[in-house]
């Protein structure tokens, strides 16, 4: 083969294969899914009953003595409880209105009590006693599947009402 032709052929092959590499490579890069909404910056929570009494207070990993157990009557419901979050200065945060944030709870598969969200109320619950005894519950603020905030296991006491 003529030397010049051979060189030309070589250059054509190089350019063709290089172009193939680039085309192959330039298929779309994998995009990263970025979260757009804000995270809730809570460090504690309180549970309030319908009379606005604080029945439980949790802050920075600890429960306040005297307000450290949720008492649930057996075979009955508690009153509606409002879940209110506290910031790092123990100031109550306004209820989160972003639908990406939801209240989550983990009863560790308990058969002694249940937790129910009040219909149409994102941050209100009531608890029902099923069997007398002691158990625990963990509250969370779920944000796109993850817990922005989580508590330790909070004691729950299910008690019989004395007639």
């Amino acid at each position: 083969m003529d030397k010049n032709l051979k060189n030309l052929l070589g250059i054509i092959i190089y350019v063709a294969i290089s172009s193939l590499f680039v085309v192959f490579y330039s298929c779309a890069d994998d995009p990263v899914t970025t979260q757009e909404s804000e995270h809730l910056e809570a460090e504690g929570l309180v549970l309030k009953d319908t009379t606005n009494n604080i029945i439980l207070k949790y802050f920075k990993g600890a429960l306040t003595p005297g307000k450290d157990t949720i008492n649930v009557p057996n075979m009955m419901n508690t009153s509606v409880l409002s879940v209110i979050f506290l910031d790092s200065n123990q100031v109550e945060l306004p209820p989160e209105e972003d639908p990406d944030h939801t209240l989550g709870f983990d009863t560790y598969g308990s058969t002694k009590f249940s937790v129910t969200k009040v219909t149409g109320q994102q941050w209100k619950i009531f608890m029902s006693g099923l069997t007398p005894g002691n158990d625990s519950v963990k509250f969370q603020v779920l944000h796109e599947g993850h817990a922005d905030f989580t508590t330790i296991a909070i004691p729950v006491r299910i008690f019989n009402i004395v007639q």
């Binding site: 092959i13 990263v32 970025t34 802050f59 990993g61």
Partner: protein, 665 residues
């Protein structure tokens, strides 16, 4: 002579194929082992080896039969027994080399001289995006020449060589098929590498896969520790007269598990899916002028994506990197006492995107560097190397925040200067002594500056420090070695002073929203010092004793308390018997207790484990078979690696039968 060629071919792991195996004049006798080898392929772009390079080559490189025998699941596991090396890990996949107690960004990992551009240096749960099974040589770059690759010359560059863009024209089609199996994780790998000449072109193609199950230990199985990797690449280069130019494409995909259920890990473990796509261009032009030898230019684009899945299938964290890098090197000719030298510039732009349940801001960074390196041979006894590198770094966070709880999140600009000098002096005929001095710099990473949130796979709440200054180190190393036909002895001592050592530390505090332990990054004065020694002794032609020992002592300067994650004193010794094409030996790895601990760090007991290794080379017609069979931890000893994050729940792997087979034709 054919026999010698065969041995050379096999000892270089097949590299010799592309080195024109038929050219027997290229064979040289290794004075240490007494066997013939071909010269190693130069992929570090430097044609001339200096006195300091030769020491590094003797003490820190792994190639040929040694690499074949030590081939393991990851890069870190493959080189962990080299002098000064240790391995940090969080399960088998996310392991990374540690050199002289230095880890993370201080140790650059590259493939054919191009940085891997993964996230393995930023967190213990991130693995190195590199397939070791198709690597032909692993070299550790140190000394003044390191500044042509990185400003952090207190550490090292670990370069995996495979010549993806071929640098030579083979004289025929060469095929290398390999397979690897091990019992400790029911692991299996296979690979196929083809090199072919077409006119003035050199083609190289590679495909490999790796599948491993959960790792077995003497105390039980380490759950969620399997690895699945698929890797392929194609390279083409045009080699004609004064020009070598080429292009290559590589795709690397791996899915691996991070064990859970211990402090510093997600309770239920995490699965990570990683994908890297890389394209490289290379051009080398031999100028042949009076002063200039050649010009080399490299360009690389990397797209890296990394997702961390929780057990529920949710993406806990996601990272994406698009990195562009370019280097231009001017290699000049010998001029008087200056034997060789390089002047160069480099450019790097990184777009770092972050998603999932990670609160750190995405950021873009730019690096521009200029460097000069010179090798001066003063006389036949003394040679000197000098280098200097200037870096301009700019880091631009996407979400600027003047009221962040961690500080003022805004643009950062760094101007840094690194320098290196070494001298090697021949005292007697075979006895040398030398010194290596460094002024090393390192710019903080985006995570070190701006992290502010949970990292679920590492199960920590990470807090960066936007006020960090660049890391600075002044280091000195003294070494001496003796080399004769049957003896090589090397002793080295080093002292590195870091006025500003950047380190994430467990604060002992808890983030009360997530109940995760808080790790905060800070820059503190620190000292890292230690020694290394190596012995290769060949009392008989067929018998060789190898020994290396290393010790690192690290402390915070202000308090005098120990630095975290410092490897304990370690000795590796082996005795090998070699006759014709058969090699057999026993190896011992011993480490002392590590009782020098940072706050919240756990101590680790000492250990001593034994292994057996063997290798046989067989030729049948045109086929050449290379078989390695090893038993690691032969007594199934329970031992723990101080740098392992899973040591609190599981020890290191138990007895492991490891077989590597390669076929060349």
């Amino acid at each position: 002579m054919k026999k010698l060629i065969l041995i050379a071919f096999l000892l270089t792991g097949g590299n010799a194929i592309s080195q024109n195996i038929v050219d027997s004049t290229s064979l040289k006798k290794d004075t240490l082992t007494g066997v013939y080898t071909t010269p190693d392929i130069e992929v570090s772009d430097y044609v001339q080896k200096t006195a300091f390079d030769k020491i590094i080559e003797m003490s820190y490189s792994l190639s040929g039969k040694d690499l074949q025998r030590n081939m393991n699941t990851t890069l870190a596991a493959t080189i962990k027994n080299e002098m000064g090396m240790s391995m940090r890990s969080m399960g088998p996949a996310p392991s990374r080399p540690v050199f002289r107690g230095l880890s993370g960004e201080r140790i650059t990992i590259s493939e054919d001289g191009i940085k891997t551009n993964d996230l393995s240096s930023t967190s213990p749960d991130h693995s190195v995006a590199l397939e070791t099974f198709t690597v032909e040589k692993i070299e550790v770059l140190r000394g003044p020449k390191l500044l042509t690759k990185s400003p952090t010359n207190v550490g090292a560059v670990i370069n995996a060589i495979r010549n993806e863009i071929p640098q030579e024209l083979p004289d025929k089609i060469n095929i290398n098929f390999g397979t690897y199996g091990e019992s400790v994780n029911s692991g299996f790998s296979s690979s196929l590498v083809i090199k072919a000449p077409v006119l003035d072109f050199s083609l190289r193609g590679e495909i490999s896969n790796r599948n491993t199950g959960n790792q077995k230990t003497p105390s039980g199985t380490l759950l969620n520790s399997g690895i699945n990797t698929f890797n392929y690449s194609g390279g083409l280069s045009y080699i004609k007269n004064k020009i070598i130019t080429g292009i290559s494409y590589r795709e690397f995909k791996t899915d691996y598990g991070i064990p859970g259920g211990f402090i510093g890990a997600h309770p239920f473990g995490v699965n990570i899916a990683m994908k890297k796509k890389q394209i490289n261009f290379k051009l080398k032009y031999d100028v042949g002028s009076k002063y200039l030898e050649n010009i080399e230019a490299e360009f690389s684009r990397v797209n890296y994506n990394h997702k961390e899945f929780e057990k529920s299938g949710l993406i806990g964290a996601e990272f994406g990197i698009t990195n562009y890098s370019a280097d231009i090197l001017f290699n000049h000719k010998t001029s008087g006492k200056i034997k060789s030298g390089i002047a160069g510039i480099s450019f790097n732009h990184r777009d770092f995107d972050i998603g999932g349940f990670v609160f750190t801001t995405p950021a873009k960074s730019l690096n521009l560097s200029a460097f000069v390196y010179e090798n001066i041979v003063i006389n036949d006894k003394l040679s000197v190397e000098l280098s200097v590198r200037y870096n301009y770094d700019e880091i631009n966070p996407r979400d600027k925040n003047y009221n962040s709880s961690i500080g003022y999140i805004t643009n950062k600009i760094y101007n840094t200067l690194s320098a290196g000098a070494s001298a090697v002096y021949r005292i007697f005929r075979n006895h040398y002594a030398g010194i290596n001095l460094v002024r090393s710099t390192r710019v903080p990473t985006i995570e070190e500056l701006y992290s502010e949130g949970p990292h679920l796979a590492a199960y920590s709440y990470e807090i960066g420090n936007p006020n960090l200054k660049s890391e600075l180190a002044y280091g000195g190393e003294l070494f001496t070695y003796y080399r004769s036909e049957n003896l090589y002895v090397m002793i080295s001592g080093y002292y590195n002073d870091f006025p500003n050592f950047i380190i994430p530390r467990n604060t002992g505090k808890i983030n009360y929203a997530t109940l995760l332990p808080i790790y905060a990054t800070e820059g503190v004065p620190a000292i890292l010092t230690g020694f290394e020694t190596q012995l290769e002794f060949k009392p008989f032609k067929f018998l060789q004793l190898d020994l290396n020992a290393s010790y690192t002592y690290g402390k915070f300067n202000q308090t005098g308390t120990p630095l975290p994650a410092i490897p304990p004193f370690k000795i590796i010794s082996s005795l090998s018997y070699k006759r014709n094409n058969f090699l057999f030996g026993v190896i011992n790895e011993s480490a002392s207790k590590q009782l020098r601990l940072d706050t919240f760090e756990e101590s680790t007991d000492g250990y001593s484990i034994f292994g057996l290794f063997s290798q046989y080379i067989l030729r049948t017609g045109k086929l050449i078979h290379n078989i390695s069979a090893n038993i690691d931890n032969i007594f199934n000893t329970e031992y723990r690696n101080h740098l392992s994050r899973v040591k609190s729940i599981m020890p290191e792997p138990g007895r492991n039968f490891r077989v590597i087979y390669r076929l060349f034709f």
